[in-house]
């Protein structure tokens, strides 16, 4: 039993944090978010130089063969800095491709930072039901064509290719397709998404069906748990700092017991969330079957959803009016934590799944 990152994991997380502190502070992030593209090409190429874009892919494609635990420290750092680049969508897309022969032509470019992907699975009306896929795939000669509409695909506007789920004659299947470039929009947490529409678009079929969708979604859910821990850490740290410096009635407001106890409860929620993120990421890497993995991920996601809401709401409340202000980073961690609470399944969804397992 050991809860530390190993030396490599720690060194990588430290260098990511150093880079983010230097080149991705709140002001730099504000410019990226305000830009037309909504992401930073220079940040992305640094991620690639640091090996982040190759970390989880097989060595034969230039990657390092890492797992969820290897990504935890990075996701935490991304959560603290509120990184908006489409890192997770690219990992999900890449992992969907990784088991197919197509990996040879796609993954080396992803690893090098020259290709970004997005995972186009969700559709309007599906909510969190992973089996709800109306997009149709039809055989067309040697290849396939896609017909249907995906929705809320984070990272789609900047993706070079999309991994798309569609109903094939033999069940839900995954495909690699050109990006049809739907109209981009901003999400609540200031990322970019689109609703790609496929009208007879050509696509190449990948290996794996609904089980792979579930596996990738659990993987991503475990990673946003780690990201949430980082965002919560930021929210707790900055709120604690505010309690120590903001004065009212002639004293720092942190001297008031009503606020101290709420701060302590935020701190405890963050620690409990960290514990569950460790569990989820470990089980994603080590679980012997899908049920064991799903149970740990759902448990973690419920806890993270609850604590993300608790910590984010309290961080704004304890800042008073300033917490509502666009100027303060805490209002942005609030947005990200709000989205994470529902991303890849909200607490109600995972409660139902947890009970059914």
């Amino acid at each position: 039993m050991n809860f530390d990152y190993n030396e490599e994991q720690q060194l990588l997380a430290d260098s990511v944090r150093r880079f983010l502190a230097k080149d991705y502070d709140f002001e730099a992030r504000r410019k990226i978010v305000a830009s037309e593209a909504g992401w930073s090409a220079s940040a992305w190429s640094t991620f690639a130089e640091m090996g982040l874009t190759g970390l989880v892919f097989p060595a034969e494609h230039g990657g390092f063969g890492g797992g969820a635990v290897d990504l935890m420290g990075i996701m935490e750092a991304f959560g603290e800095a509120l990184v908006v680049e489409p890192y997770l969508p690219t990992l999900m897309g890449g992992l969907a491709v990784a088991r197919s022969p197509l990996a040879r032509s796609i993954l080396p470019a992803v690893v090098e930072g020259k290709m970004k992907l997005a995972f186009a699975h969700a559709e309007k009306g599906a909510r969190y039901d992973l089996g709800f896929v109306k997009t149709q795939a039809r055989k067309a000669g040697e290849g396939w064509t896609l017909e249907g509409e995906k929705a809320g695909v984070v990272g789609a506007p900047m993706a070079d290719r999309l991994v798309v789920s569609a109903a094939a004659p033999d069940g839900v299947a995954l495909f690699l397709a050109e990006n049809p470039a739907g109209k981009p929009y901003r999400t609540v947490d200031e990322m970019r998404a689109a609703d790609p529409v496929f009208r007879g678009a050509k696509a190449e079929r990948l290996d794996g069906g609904i089980a792979l969708v579930e596996e990738l979604t659990d993987f991503a859910a475990a990673l946003v748990c780690a990201e949430a821990v980082g965002a919560m850490k930021f929210a707790c740290d900055t709120t604690l700092e505010y309690l120590k410096t903001r004065k009212q009635f002639g004293v720092p407001i942190g001297t008031f017991q009503a606020l101290q106890h709420r701060m302590v409860d935020m701190f405890i929620a963050q620690e409990q969330a960290r514990s569950m993120a460790c569990l989820a990421c470990s089980k994603v890497d080590q679980a012997t079957d899908a049920k064991e993995r799903a149970r740990a991920v759902s448990a973690a996601k419920i806890k993270i959803a609850d604590s993300a809401r608790h910590v984010s709401q309290e961080s704004v409340q304890l800042h008073g009016g300033m917490g509502m202000s666009e100027e303060l980073k805490v209002s942005h961690s609030f947005r990200r934590l709000t989205v994470i609470a529902g991303q890849f399944g909200d607490a109600d969804h995972h409660l139902a799944r947890f009970a059914a397992l």
Partner: protein, 376 residues
């Protein structure tokens, strides 16, 4: 990062589990499972079974009977005791008084008291709270005046758990009412409960159980050699003990057993998604607490440092979970049932409200984290 126990740790758990299944008397296990009253004889019988095995005081130094287990093994042992449904080991002698004597006691005090604690010859209780001094413990008034080689003790303690079983009480008393800092006027003394002038009066709690007492001291003569550490240093001793108390309040093994019992008891209600979701949330709270507890142990094992103030969160979350389980038990019970077990479930709910109050209320624990960990 590896959340799995090592093969050695897993083997250790198996060893403890096998021993427990062979040596935990079925009648005691049944009493615990049915929330029945445990008599002094019940408690001591189990204590002595463990003492004979050499396992009653794992944390003590080996020379005094400790097992030499590391913190993780000790945690596994406690978890297995709780999960098996063993009667509780009363902490006042084994955990608290012993920890104080081992850290602050003279050789003579250690030789006199530790073997008797180990063998279950002396039953101890804790004399801390007073009618006017609960959370504000340092305001305590019980007075001890040194006359010759004796202290004369006058005053009153309250909420004294199992004082009616106890042979000895360790007490915080005021030896110097004029001390500049009131904490500096407090001393830690050991008092024989058979000394003339001590009166124990039961305090019945809302579940109808006699567990706590008032203890009155009326010109009680205590040999000066029963002072622990120096006069006026009792607060230092008390603070040292606090960390010990908090590290042991998670009760994860016991909660796991209770949760399993709850699932069985509530099987007819599990289809109700409102009930089921509350049960799941509680189960997940317990998972999170277990891992958080292991993170603390891992840190202690690596750094060799005693736990920081942030272990207070284990007390807060552990007791909330214990209460949550009994609350769901209560709600799962058929409202029209009056069988013995259902009645015991209702009493247990009443009784468990104490957990967020005792051993430093959860509000005091939050004060501790706010001050010591967060610097507020």
């Amino acid at each position: 990062m590896d959340l799995n126990y090592s093969p050695e740790e897993a083997a250790f758990r198996e060893e403890v589990r096998a021993w427990l299944s062979a040596n935990l008397p079925p009648d005691l296990k049944e009493k615990v499972a049915s929330y029945a009253h445990l008599s002094k004889d019940d408690l001591l019988r189990w204590h002595r079974i463990l003492a004979r095995q050499g396992w009653v005081a794992p944390a003590w130094p080996k020379e005094w009977g400790g097992t030499g287990w590391n913190v993780v093994q000790r945690y596994i042992f406690e978890e297995e005791l709780g999960y098996a449904g063993a009667p509780p080991l009363i902490p006042f002698g084994l955990t608290m008084c012993a920890a104080v004597l081992l850290r602050f006691g003279t050789e003579a005090q250690k030789k006199r008291f530790l073997p008797r604690i180990y063998d279950g010859d002396d039953f101890w209780c804790q004399g801390y709270s007073e009618p006017g001094s609960g959370s504000d413990l340092a305001s305590l008034k019980t007075r001890a005046v040194l006359k010759g080689n004796e202290y004369i003790v006058n005053g009153q303690k309250i909420w004294t758990t199992l004082a009616h079983y106890a042979d000895w009480i360790f007490c915080l008393v005021r030896t110097d009412p004029g001390a500049e800092r009131r904490q500096e006027g407090i001393s830690f003394v050991l008092i024989d409960m058979k000394t003339p002038g001590i009166t124990v009066r039961p305090l019945m709690l809302m579940d109808g159980a006699h567990e706590v007492n008032e203890v009155f001291f009326d010109d009680v003569r205590v040999a000066a050699e029963n002072l622990v550490h120096e006069e006026g240093k009792g607060w230092t001793v008390a603070k040292y003990l606090l960390g010990y108390e908090r590290m042991n309040t998670g009760r994860i093994g016991e909660s796991r057993r209770q949760l399993a019992a709850l699932k069985e008891f509530a099987s007819s209600r599990i289809q109700d998604s409102r009930f089921r979701d509350r049960l799941s949330r509680l189960e997940i709270e317990l998972m999170a607490l277990e891992i958080t507890n292991l993170r603390f142990l891992d840190r202690m094992r690596r750094t060799g440092q005693p736990p920081g103030a942030d272990v207070s969160m284990l007390k807060i979350k552990g007791t909330e979970i214990q209460q949550g389980i009994t609350e769901l038990m209560l709600q799962a019970a058929d409202p029209a049932a009056s069988d013995a077990f259902t009645e015991a479930v209702r009493r247990k709910y009443l009784s468990m409200r104490k957990t967020t109050i005792y051993a430093g209320s959860n509000e005091i624990q939050r004060n501790i984290i706010a001050k010591m960990t967060l610097g507020l």
